[in-house]
Amino acid sequence: MATNRNPGPVGGGALSSEFAGDPDMTELVQMFVDEMPQRVDAMLDCWEKGNLGDLRRMAHQLKGASGGYGFPTVGQMAAQLEAGLAAVGRTPDSEALDHLRTQVVELVGMCRRVTSEPPSGA
């Protein structure tokens, strides 16, 4: 189930939080962004080890939390991965695995774009 840890550029630039500039959220958004590389590594570890149960839990938590930090698109993509993992169960066939791999790569790519900086031009 190995995948590329650096799956290459994914379309789109930096992804700013909807709450950039909200004083109540500045610290939390920064923390979310700072911790994102660990989350990404943990998700990739689960994927490489075939630990789909833990990967689903991570996607579930990311789905629940991302919107709260002002990154709803990350949450939507995490929700798609969670749904994909739920649909295939524990022993996915190769076609399902390919689809899941795409979803993981897309989610990881989007996660790597998050930034605590306000949107350019804001």
Partner: protein, 312 residues
């Protein structure tokens, strides 16, 4: 007791640290105290130690899931009235039906809109207050929200018994609004009600947390001050009297309203002095305050002031 401890407790049980952080930040300005736990079993243990006003409960948790926690809460008579808002990533109507059938008050799906969650939390806190009020209704005065005469009688008997048994200090103040009839006759009954409610608010804000303010009847209030001798109690009531005369009433800004109080207290065991004898003595002091010119506090020590103690 700090201010924070007086705020209603909201218990969050969710295995996601992100949800803990987000709610902690977003509820920072709400008048609540948030305690966050990651496991259902810890949540149930906490609820047994300290009853929350509202529980925010995640469904999808490892070990003990939210449904199990909800079932345990609703099976226990001590916890079954606590409003529970389910926070869940499970969007299926089957999960919602199960949660509501188990006794959940509300169901919010993740990712949640935090402004909406705050509004739902406020609604649940209102529900909690109403449920508690309903439970205490027999003891609550409708106009002021303070304990009524029945409530006073119960609490007063408890406190006198404690004073007698353990030698705890105790004081009682009977507080009366001066010339209240004049307020009613001159400015109307709504103005009179406003003054009564104002005194109740003042009692609630001026008193310390162990004090028990009650509406004794009409324009008369009783204030039980446990673990407080007459000197300290006099300071509390004096503070109340001073605050009262500063109030500018919206319906009659040029007419200030004052309070008179009769206070009696004991620094140690009150011996065989009965509940009624305490009241009688406090009433005598109130009468003295009225006849001394009103807007004053007359205080005395129950042991010295009540000869019935020595006779017993």
């Amino acid at each position: 007791m700090s201010n924070n401890e007086n705020k209603p407790l909201v218990l969050l049980i969710d295995d996601s640290i992100d949800v803990h952080r987000l709610l902690s930040a977003r509820l920072r300005h709400e008048p609540v105290r948030l305690v966050s736990l990651t496991r259902g079993v810890d949540g149930l243990e906490h609820v047994r130690r300290e009853t929350p006003s509202v529980i925010l409960l995640d469904l999808d948790m490892p070990d003990m899931d939210g449904f199990e926690v909800l079932r345990a809460l609703k099976d226990d008579q001590a916890t079954n009235n606590i409003p529970v808002i389910v926070l869940s990533g499970l969007h299926g109507s089957e999960d919602k039906v199960t949660a509501f059938d188990l006794g959940a008050t509300d169901y919010v799906t993740k990712p949640f809109d935090l402004a909406e969650l705050r509004a739902r939390l406020r609604a649940a806190l209102r529900l909690d207050r109403l449920l508690k009020l309903l439970a205490e209704r027999a003891d609550v005065d409708g106009l002021t929200g303070l304990g009524n005469r029945a409530h006073f009688n119960k609490r007063w008997a408890e406190k006198v018994a404690e004073c007698r048994r353990y030698g705890h200090a105790l004081s009682l103040a009977m507080i009366d609004i001066d010339l209240f009839k004049k307020v009613n006759d001159t400015f109307g009954h709504p103005a009179g009600d406003e003054v009564i409610q104002g005194v109740a608010r003042l009692l609630q804000t001026t008193c310390r947390s162990p004090d028990v303010p009650c509406r004794f009847g009409g324009e008369e209030f009783a204030l039980i001050m446990p673990n407080t001798g007459p000197r300290d109690a006099e300071m509390v009531v004096e503070r109340l009297r001073e605050a009262m005369e500063q109030i500018e009433w919206p319906r009659h800004p040029d007419h200030r309203v004052t309070l008179s109080a009769g206070l009696v207290g004991s620094d140690s065991s009150c011996g065989d002095v009965t509940c009624d004898q305490w009241l009688e003595r406090a009433d005598q002091n109130l009468y003295a305050a009225k006849h001394g010119g009103r807007n004053r506090v007359v205080a005395s020590d129950i042991q010295r002031a009540c000869p019935l103690t020595k006779a017993a």
